[in-house]
Symmetry: C2
Subunit: 190 residues, 2 copies
């Protein structure tokens, strides 16, 4: 049995972000991340499949939160209202630590095409989960896919604003504002 | 100077698709692709950066076609009408051979998460190019981004239909129909 290591997961994320920022993502190994965190390689692999996944952990949990949030919206909710409820459920799960890590996370991803591809894949997975949940509410496929697309875009835009230390609004407020802006933009498509 | 090898690029694409289909993407090497095509590894690397790029060649050309097509739309065109003109320009560039390769291409990509990520990245690159071109027409950022997103979705949906041997319609007709369906779906967002 592995011994209990307090906050191992969070320590690994912090160590990885520090090392990626200091010496670059490509130049950083799993062993270095574990050492920086004061943990073993075996502990690393109990938490993450590889070094890339340190940055994208939570995809399954986030997908479930979106799906459950949409499912719990009132029957009378429009597709976008159900998507907004899904965003509420997702944004409510984020912690002050995730906000603090945010800027470094965004910088590391922006600097590496492989990570940008992985981020797109996570976005697509979140959108697929929400599309499916909206479909179960009776929303037609294409409309569900677009509502989910707008919600994931709103989530990303709101995350960038929320992790800005100068931001005064909650993640949920920022996400709903972003979704409103996207709805207005959709109405102007012609 | 490299000697001229007739249709080298197309032979490499065909050989790669055959090998990926027969023995799997991960199990296929660049050397095998070159051998199957009756060419050298050096010739392969004159055409493609690596084996993955055999499947995604054309990203820059496709981006440029979309941008030029949007730029050439009448001044009076709405954002979606300009996006439709961009799709016309892009779909017109596709050949009967690309249609023939299509089903194998889609099958190989669907079977490999790394290729799915790369396909998402190509879609994002196309959308970014079209977003930028629409921005130059004075379309506001968010509306441009959504129009581009709908256009790229329409392109992918239409490609899947067009490569179906049973399909009777042109790629352009299918893309415009898909864009119309997406517009209708956007109108139902609530």
């Amino acid at each position: 049995m592995a011994r209990w290591e307090p906050n191992a997961r969070q320590r690994l994320v912090l160590a990885a972000l520090d090392l990626f920022t200091e010496q670059g993502y490509d130049n950083t190994t799993v062993i270095q991340i574990a050492e920086r965190a004061g943990l073993t390689k075996a502990t690393f692999f109990r938490h993450f499949a590889d070094k890339r996944e340190v940055l994208f952990a939570g995809q399954e949990v986030h997908s479930r939160l979106l799906a459950d949030g949409a499912a719990a919206a009132p029957d009378s909710a429009t597709p976008l209202e159900a998507a907004a409820a899904a965003l509420d459920a997702l944004t409510a799960s984020f912690t002050a630590e995730q906000r603090e890590f945010g800027p470094r996370l965004l910088t590391v991803i922006a600097g590496n095409p492989e990570l940008q591809e992985r981020a797109l894949f996570k976005g697509a997975a979140l959108a697929a989960a929400l599309t499916s949940a909206l479909g179960k509410r009776g929303v037609p496929d294409l409309t569900a896919a677009l509502a989910a697309e707008l919600a994931v875009r709103a989530f990303h835009r709101a995350f960038e604003n929320w992790v800005d230390p100068a931001s005064q609004q909650t993640f949920s407020e920022l996400a709903r504002q972003a979704l409103d802006q996207l709805r207005a933009a959709a109405a102007a498509l012609g």
